[in-house]
Symmetry: none
Subunit: 216 residues, 4 copies
Amino acid sequence: MPRTKSAETRARILKAATRRFGETGYHATSIGDLATDLGMGHGTFYRYFKNKREIFQVIVDDVPKRLRSLLMTERPDAADSLEAYRAQVGRIARRVFELLGDGPDELADVAHIIFVEAYGVDAELRGHVERGLALLATMTAAYLDNGVERGFLRRDLDVAVTASAINGMVIAGVRSLARSGRDGDAEQLLTSWSSAVTRLMFDGIGRPDSAATPGR
Amino acid sequence: MPRTKSAETRARILKAATRRFGETGYHATSIGDLATDLGMGHGTFYRYFKNKREIFQVIVDDVPKRLRSLLMTERPDAADSLEAYRAQVGRIARRVFELLGDGPDELADVAHIIFVEAYGVDAELRGHVERGLALLATMTAAYLDNGVERGFLRRDLDVAVTASAINGMVIAGVRSLARSGRDGDAEQLLTSWSSAVTRLMFDGIGRPDSAATPGR
Amino acid sequence: MPRTKSAETRARILKAATRRFGETGYHATSIGDLATDLGMGHGTFYRYFKNKREIFQVIVDDVPKRLRSLLMTERPDAADSLEAYRAQVGRIARRVFELLGDGPDELADVAHIIFVEAYGVDAELRGHVERGLALLATMTAAYLDNGVERGFLRRDLDVAVTASAINGMVIAGVRSLARSGRDGDAEQLLTSWSSAVTRLMFDGIGRPDSAATPGR
Amino acid sequence: MPRTKSAETRARILKAATRRFGETGYHATSIGDLATDLGMGHGTFYRYFKNKREIFQVIVDDVPKRLRSLLMTERPDAADSLEAYRAQVGRIARRVFELLGDGPDELADVAHIIFVEAYGVDAELRGHVERGLALLATMTAAYLDNGVERGFLRRDLDVAVTASAINGMVIAGVRSLARSGRDGDAEQLLTSWSSAVTRLMFDGIGRPDSAATPGR
DNA sequence: GATGAATGAGCTTTCATTCAT
DNA sequence: GATGAATGAAAGCTCATTCAT
């Protein structure tokens, strides 16, 4: 690998920071803690990052990047039938869960950092996250829009709000998965959530033959 | 200038703290900030609350109290048909949204405090919230259980996970409403969310006549 | 009693303060504690004493007054034989012990205030105590001087240092008595100390017939 | 300017603290004062000591260590005649005085810290000192016991109380020496005290030929 | 490049004191 | 005269950051 020694160290610091910020929290983690974890002098930290806030922001800003990379492979206008759409949703759901980390441990940390810690640092960083969530909603809405346009989703769907509601389920799933994190059976939980969310979306909770009033 | 009656001042401090913790965050808000907001000496704060953590916990612990009061009027086994159930869900949704604050401003702050800030203070407080959320999930699951038993909800529903997913939507709604808070039309948004969530739950997003594969 | 109401209250405050300062210490006793003990508002305290330091100083400065009153009845030149002197020392010893309080409880408090707390307040107050101890040493020296002059004490007595040494024993006795304070048998301990100190002074510790080398 | 080796700095802080606590008192000395004395930032203090109490306790707990080292060389059962005993007492007296500090200045401070300040910090520390003094009394009593057993001290000696009284004299001497500290002729004063105390103990204050009533 | 000793801004908390009622 | 709500000076302590080595 052509990486300089520096780049490696930087990555090591990032990894340790993600872990610590996720587990212990931003405020409760001191630069000294990080240095100790890494077995290096805490002054060294400042050779790789301007300050404590910077490394945190790097971690936070990495998530939208991953999200965008997801977009690349699953185009919003790819599905042209409810069947295809359902399949696509299933794929995306899985990938979103997988997106955030190399396994449930890092997922737990990143989820905690994004959904909790980032809010407690300062207003600007909070803005980053909120914009990230808005972006996620926009993306989800794009998929719904496609379905409405192609005619396989309800015409009267409140796309914006429904997109946010769906994201709410996804986030709940991520946090649940994160919480189970270090002990539970992550794979099993992931399957349960994917299945429950897609069924809720497509079939509703009512009994198939039960006469749910489709209109208002 | 000693004038105000104790209880009044205490309420004023609580209100200011809810606002500040909600907007600026727990860690980023110093007792001095609170005092400045209130136009009083920071020492005065300590005449009403033992310390910074205590006032935060008072705010947090107030929410379960409100939740429990909700339970009193909407029994989980009240509905005996999908129709009745749908109506009940609509009622509960509205009340949950209304539950948290005297208007969307305070809602925003309380929601933020509960869902975000409380996690970053300490493990004990985090436990409070997690138990609160678990309770909420249990409650939701009880309503689903009733539906499955009475036969108007799917037999194969993954009740636990589905309950969490539904709560995820509700929380997303609360936060969305909260975010709109200080400017948007709260009443309108509330209606949109209630409607979108119940339709998603009961009808799914697919077109009524579209042949969504009900099974797996 | 022609005392105004004020004088009574003042005395009550002084008594409570002596007790609290003695038991809990100057710094650890707040004006609020005193007020609580007395069942009055803490603002009232300031109607009787300028500030916390003042009441403490009043307590401290009361001791030299008591000491001086002792001088009035036991004149340094009263004894004209070793026998008379011995008797006088016995009387003084008893009175010194009794001097400081109405019983061992108050003794404990006053002793603690004088020998410990007074040093921790400020340099001026410390000066008061040191001057008080110096005065005590001067007084003791006066009694020794009389004995040397009248010829019943050793000619070569180092009066100043010996006086201080004797006072050291007395202080040790007072503190021991104070320590035993609230539980032990104060009367018994007082007798033991009086006796041990006078015998040490007059007879030495050696066996009567043992040939202690009187010279150096 | 990072330069000095840790251990050196720690010693410097200890020395400055001993001085300040001795002169100004524990409560009246702030960490900021110490830092100013040392010409360093107050944060630096906390790199060497956990908190204010800790450094105080380190100073206090150093004294028993020195005391124990004294015990090693002067066994309580070493003397077998009044002559030998008198000589031993003289030696011990000198060493006790020398024990506490590198010269009268530090002696003054350590003595003050032990006998005064330590009582005003908290109950636990007070306990340390009281146990230390009790130990000292026990040691002294052991020497007296030996004399009584071997028959060169009075049979009817109240050993416990007499030991405390003697220690009272020693402490008074230490404090006197300490007080003279920064100006007086320490060597001269030390000689005076050693001599006065041993003569008081062995010969009493009465004129040799004067008929002191040996019994009660 | 790495280090860690030093630093001080900044926070929480206490409590003596004031003064309107 | 009594009260206690309000106040802010002052203290202990933490930790991100700097910089001489």
